[in-house]
């Protein structure tokens, strides 16, 4: 399998940090907040490689740093330190010609780019679906407009072309095209989530970030959304990073999984292996807590 993205030492810290932080926080210490200086280590030293057409799951309880990780990858939040490099992707190389130093297969550190370039990289390389549709969608703007926003950001200037693209994406995500000019606030939670997926896919990105996409939806709607995500992954050959606290979702979508606790990765491996033979105490607890 070819790698698509590699991250090394991703860290997000809120606070000044102190010499005692290192041993006072993390999974061993059972907290991500340093008792000496009050610094919160939301995400500490996370490294991984994501391959093409692979879905990597991230599980952990709330406060374990999953969403922080996704926000750093999507450039919503600045990271305190760390490297994020993308393999050579035609769309990315086209949007940012200076991203790859002389023929190198790996890009420069995406986290060190300025915000303008990060936005270009985001428009060309990834889409995101948040847990709350309010985060990813403008509730007062038409659904078609929500999808068009990404396209406008990427430099599309033809309304006809954007509407055609929005219509085909909405059709693909099972939203009636006749409701394209309605704002998402008119829609049910499941429909809003599908509009978000359509928006995330608008730029034809190789990478999709899913942050707790099914949390808060009822079971039958969850199943439909997950079905859709699975079908899209096959069809569009997407790589995905799936964040969830629900092991069922991870089991359904992901080949590999990382388990996070208190900002650190405590276990990583094949999903089947982690679910059937968890090594770390916390993972064992997580698997045992699953409702059967």
């Amino acid at each position: 399998m070819e790698p698509l993205l590699r991250a090394h030492g991703l860290t997000k810290r809120f606070g000044p940090g102190c010499p005692a932080c290192l041993e006072s926080t993390g999974a061993e210490a059972g907290s991500n907040r340093c008792p000496h200086c009050g610094t919160v280590w939301a995400c500490r030293d996370v490294s991984f490689v994501l391959h093409r057409e692979e879905a990597l799951g991230i599980v952990g309880e709330s406060g374990s740093g999953k969403s922080t990780l996704v926000r750093m990858l999507h450039f919503d939040w600045d990271s305190t330190s760390g490297f994020l490099e993308a393999a050579r992707i035609p769309a990315l190389a086209e949007a940012l010609p200076d991203l790859y130093p002389d023929g190198s297969p790996w890009s420069r550190n995406l986290l060190a780019l300025d915000r303008f370039r990060q936005r270009k990289a985001r428009d060309a390389g990834m889409g995101i679906v948040y847990q709350h549709p309010q985060l990813g969608l403008r509730m007062g703007v038409s659904s078609g407009g929500n999808i068009a926003e990404r396209l406008l950001s990427a430099g599309w200037r033809s309304i006809g072309a954007m509407r055609a693209r929005s219509a085909s994406l909405l059709e693909r995500t099972e939203i009636p095209v006749s409701r394209m000019d309605e704002p998402p606030r008119n829609f049910s939670g499941g429909m809003q989530q599908r509009v978000q997926i359509a928006k995330a896919l608008s730029g034809d990105p190789p990478l999709l970030l899913l942050d707790e996409v099914t949390t808060g939806l009822d079971l039958s709607v969850q199943a439909r959304v997950l079905d859709l995500v699975r079908a899209l992954r096959e069809e569009l050959k997407l790589s995905m990073l799936v964040v969830s606290h629900d092991l069922g979702v991870i089991n359904l979508l992901c080949q590999r999984t990382m388990v996070m606790k208190n900002g650190q990765v405590v276990e990583a491996g094949l999903t089947d292996q982690i679910l059937q033979d968890p090594q770390h105490g916390y993972t064992q607890l997580l698997v045992a807590s699953q409702l059967q």
Partner: protein, 285 residues
């Protein structure tokens, strides 16, 4: 200096030439230089108190005062009209504090200060047009936070402005902005061209004249230097268009190629007149 003296004209001279003290002029001129160097970028400056309420042209007045020379000839217009109260007062003020010449003829003026219009007559390279600006932030329509709009300008993150136009087209079939039409300056910043009608927007593009924009209340100065691209936001399949006055002509001078004001007469009929009164007068002579 008592307020009454300004009204009666008893004050022969202000302490410094052109009212503003030298420190204030320096501040405004520095802002002007930066504004010209970065077309379309809003430069903050310390807007001074003027003998006129903020929002009545104090930004334009400060820009004009800070570059006025005794030999200048000034024209001031308000919505195209040389004779409106606001324009007349500002003109008199310039005459009193700067001793400059006053004209209503665009061709004779060295500096033209205006609110909401650009003169019909094409302006020359040796002239300057100063525009009074109420709301300098073009993105305010889509983003209420100043911190956010500054970030958006800094990163050229204009998708939301474009989305605003997209929604207009989808909802109403056309872009509904009739004045303050947002423009991209020099391929970089989106700029508010002040509340000029769409008719005047093409005059900013690749002009011979220097355009200076002053917002007194919002404390911003920006500029369009001569021969700079000023492109109204438009889509490939929904082009920017100026107002359509086809079949209409000025009831006074008969002009068919000017921006017209519609006037409702007491008997219920409509008439159209040139909005630029100086131009209309010139054609009548």
């Amino acid at each position: 200096m008592r307020a009454r003296d300004w009204a009666t004209g008893d004050v022969p001279h202000s302490k410094t030439f052109a009212f503003l003290d030298e420190g204030a002029k320096k501040d405004v001129r520095r802002a002007l230089l930066k504004a010209v160097a970065i077309p379309g970028y809003q430069v903050p400056y310390g807007s001074r108190e003027m003998p006129l309420a903020r929002g009545w042209g104090t930004g334009g007045i400060q820009v004009t005062l800070s570059m006025l020379l005794p030999e200048d000839v000034v024209k001031v217009i308000d919505q195209g009209c040389d004779g409106s109260v606001n324009a007349v007062n500002i003109k008199k003020f310039y005459g009193r504090v700067g001793g400059v010449g006053i004209t209503t003829d665009t061709a004779l003026a060295t500096v033209v200060q205006t609110r909401h219009r650009i003169p019909e007559e094409r302006m020359r390279a040796d002239q300057v047009l100063v525009l009074q600006v109420p709301c300098p932030e073009a993105l305010r329509e889509v983003e209420p936070s100043e911190a956010q709009t500054r970030r958006m300008h800094g990163e050229a993150d204009y998708a939301r402005m474009w989305l605003h136009l997209y929604e207009d087209v989808v909802t109403f079939g056309e872009i509904r902005i009739s004045y303050r039409y947002p423009c991209t300056v020099n391929g970089r910043f989106i700029m508010d061209p002040s509340p000029i009608p769409r008719w005047d927007v093409p005059k900013l593009h690749m002009a011979d004249t220097l355009f200076l924009f002053g917002a007194g209340r919002e404390r911003r100065i920006y500029a369009v230097p001569p021969h700079t691209r000023v492109e109204p936001l438009e889509f490939d399949d929904h082009r920017f268009a100026v107002e359509d006055f086809a079949g209409k002509a000025c009831a006074r001078c008969g002009a068919r190629d000017t921006f017209l004001d519609e006037v409702l007469r007491p008997d219920g009929t409509h008439q159209f007149f040139c909005s630029d009164t100086g131009h209309c007068d010139k054609r009548m002579r």
